[in-house]
């Protein structure tokens, strides 16, 4: 059992608090991404788990054993680094075998496991070469193979795809998913790229300013962000936030009345995914002034304003809306997120 419990971890660098009481539980065999903008503390948290950084307070347990205070080598984990950290003075074979050699595994086992890992990542042809003869993508494969060869209980990955070009990144992402699914290793994956996190993860922990803002399944996080930050960080275009008046517990969207959550003041923030709308005639729909219309081929992207607040919405490519038009929108009431204008946190909707 290699579940990971991160228990109230704090980390400060002088006066700066990089992590403010972060707690997170990762189940055995689960793939969890730590997602957030740079400086949010995700890499610091990963390095604390790896033992490359000390925490100011708090505990980390792997399989119910506290690992705080252990040297990295005694934590039973493997890591893939952002710049691959493939040893330049060793052949690919020696690189992949490195962890096994350090465990003093016998030569037959080393060979078997190196070949298996090399096979999984398709690097058998390069085993005798030195890393400086390899491309970035190939080095990345070596780094992943080196990590998998030791059959770690826990695999840590620090932005492993960020140094690859866009096309290669897509390819490696798919491949990583295949390889890791079959390995079944508990994995923590740090990234700032939401598409990577969405595509790979069982669950995502969105981090911001040293705090975990929300943990959940990718779809849940996308559709029901817990905070304004999560909604704005995830999705392209980001979620729209429109401040609207509440009267008698209702919010008017054109002629339609939406039920606002209970016990709110006379204003509320309506969180709306750009694609959770369809065209409706005025005055029945909610009025939107279109400033720019951009046909993207697969869809039509409209930038403009609702209630004088900037919004971006997506319509099917077949609609004919031009820059400067005023249109009506019908909102998909199931996909609306209500947020408090003061705290920016989501407020549960009234169940219909």
């Amino acid at each position: 059992m290699a579940n990971i419990v991160i228990d109230r971890i704090r980390k400060s660098f002088g006066a700066f608090q990089a992590l403010k009481e972060v707690s997170l539980t990762i189940n055995d065999g689960e793939f969890v991404s730590l997602l957030g903008p740079s400086g949010c503390g995700k890499t610091t948290l990963l390095r604390i788990i790896a033992g490359l950084e000390t925490s100011t307070s708090g505990d980390v347990r792997i399989g119910d054993r506290s690992i705080i205070g252990l040297a990295p080598k005694d934590r039973g984990l493997a890591m893939v680094f952002q710049n691959y950290a493939v040893f330049p003075h060793m052949t690919v074979y020696e690189n992949v075998a490195f962890g096994l050699r350090m465990q003093k595994a016998d030569e037959a086992r080393v060979k078997a496991q190196v070949e298996k890992a090399a096979g999984l990542l398709h690097i058998e042809p390069y085993l005798d070469r030195y890393p400086n003869k390899l491309s970035g993508g190939q080095r990345q494969r070596v780094a992943v193979a080196r990590a998998l060869a030791v059959k770690p209980k826990v695999l840590l990955m620090d932005e492993p795809l960020s140094n690859l070009d866009a096309l290669l990144r897509l390819e490696m992402r798919t491949e990583l998913k295949t390889v890791l699914q079959s390995a079944g290793t508990t994995t923590i994956y740090v990234t700032h790229d939401q598409t990577e996190a969405m595509g790979l993860s069982d669950r995502i922990a969105v981090m911001h300013n040293g705090v975990v803002e929300q943990v959940g399944h990718p779809v849940e996080i996308y559709n029901h962000p817990a905070t304004r930050f999560v909604g704005g960080f995830i999705g392209n275009p980001p979620m729209n936030f429109i401040k609207v008046p509440v009267s008698n517990g209702q919010v008017a969207a054109g002629e339609e009345q939406l039920a606002a959550p209970k016990d709110v003041g006379n204003e509320i923030v309506l969180g709306l995914r750009g694609e959770a709308v369809e065209l409706a005639p005025l005055p029945q729909g909610l009025e939107m002034k279109v400033r720019v219309a951009e046909p993207m081929g697969s869809h039509l992207l409209l930038t403009g304003s609702i209630h004088d607040q900037p919004v971006r919405v997506i319509l099917p490519a077949s609609e004919t809306v031009k820059s400067g038009d005023t249109i009506g929108l019908k909102l998909d009431s199931k996909r609306i997120t209500w947020l408090s204008p003061e705290s920016g946190r989501s407020i549960p909707a009234v169940s219909a």
Partner: protein
């Protein structure tokens, strides 16, 4: 992990700190005490003896003159070398290697090299003779020709000491991104303007450390002088050597040492102030 054992870095620097304390700081203090005391009491007697020595004024003047002439010429040649080599593609490595050869040559050897050229039956006289400039062997290195001797020593110092300046400046030039110069060129700056307005300000840190290093070394000039002119051309370190070895007077030698240190430190401070390097204005 890093903070778990905060004593590790101290353990690593300890041997070198101990060594430098014993063989740098202690002798430094000893020198100062030896210079400024007489029979165990503070005194300026040694300093007086130094100042009243007939060679003192000459050695101060000679050392300063040499520094003032040699250092700027070295910087100028090094800048020329750096600029030239930056325009070369193939052969760059070889050229740089040739230019750095003097880096491995001691000042004594440099003095001997130029002695072979400038002695009475040497190559310089032979050249002048065959060109018909002189009719018979001329003497350049005697006490009767102080200006020629000075020039000879300066030439030998420039020959030997330019390499280190060149290496520092080329290392500095290598760090200046090509785009800056290209941008200046596109906006219409000629090569001369580019050099003065773009390159020179950007290699200021390299220039500063080259100046400090070369100036301190120039005040230490000794063996090259000794090899070319013997005692005909007194310089500060040479006088310290003579007081120590010939006269066996360690105290006056120590006063010379303190004087050289004061001059070197003052020069360093002047360079640091005059060429202030503002980290925000560097790429």
């Amino acid at each position: 992990m890093t903070q778990n054992r905060p004593w590790i870095p101290y353990l690593l620097i300890l041997p070198s700190v101990a060594f430098l304390a014993l063989l740098f700081v202690v002798p430094l203090v000893q020198t100062i005490w030896l210079a400024l005391s007489d029979n165990g009491a503070p005194s300026l007697a040694n300093a007086e003896r130094m100042v009243t020595d007939i060679n003192f004024t000459r050695s101060v003047r000679n050392t300063f003159l040499l520094t003032i002439v040699v250092v700027p010429v070295q910087i100028a040649i090094a800048l020329a070398m750096g600029t030239m080599v930056s325009k070369v593609g193939r052969g760059r490595e070889t050229i740089l290697w040739i230019w750095t050869i003097p880096l491995g040559i001691s000042d004594l050897a440099a003095g001997l090299v130029w002695l072979s050229i400038l002695q009475n039956t040497g190559y310089f006289n032979s050249l002048l003779f065959s060109l018909g400039v002189i009719g018979r062997q001329a003497s350049w290195l005697s006490y009767q020709t102080p200006i020629a001797l000075f020039i000879a020593i300066a030439v030998a110092e420039i020959w030997r000491g330019t390499a280190i300046v060149m290496v520092i400046i080329v290392a500095g030039l290598n760090q200046v991104p090509k785009e800056f110069k290209e941008a200046a060129e596109i906006f219409g700056a000629g090569p001369w303007t580019r050099f003065w307005r773009i390159t020179l300000p950007l290699i200021r840190p390299a220039l500063q450390s080259a100046l400090i290093l070369r100036t301190v070394l120039a005040f230490e000039v000794f063996a090259v002088v000794y090899a070319l002119g013997g005692r005909n051309f007194p310089v500060l370190v040479g006088e310290a050597y003579n007081w120590q070895n010939q006269n066996q007077n360690y105290s006056v030698a120590a006063v010379y040492a303190v004087l050289i240190m004061i001059i070197s430190l003052a020069a360093t401070l002047i360079y640091l102030k005059a060429l202030k390097v503002d980290p925000e204005r560097l790429p």
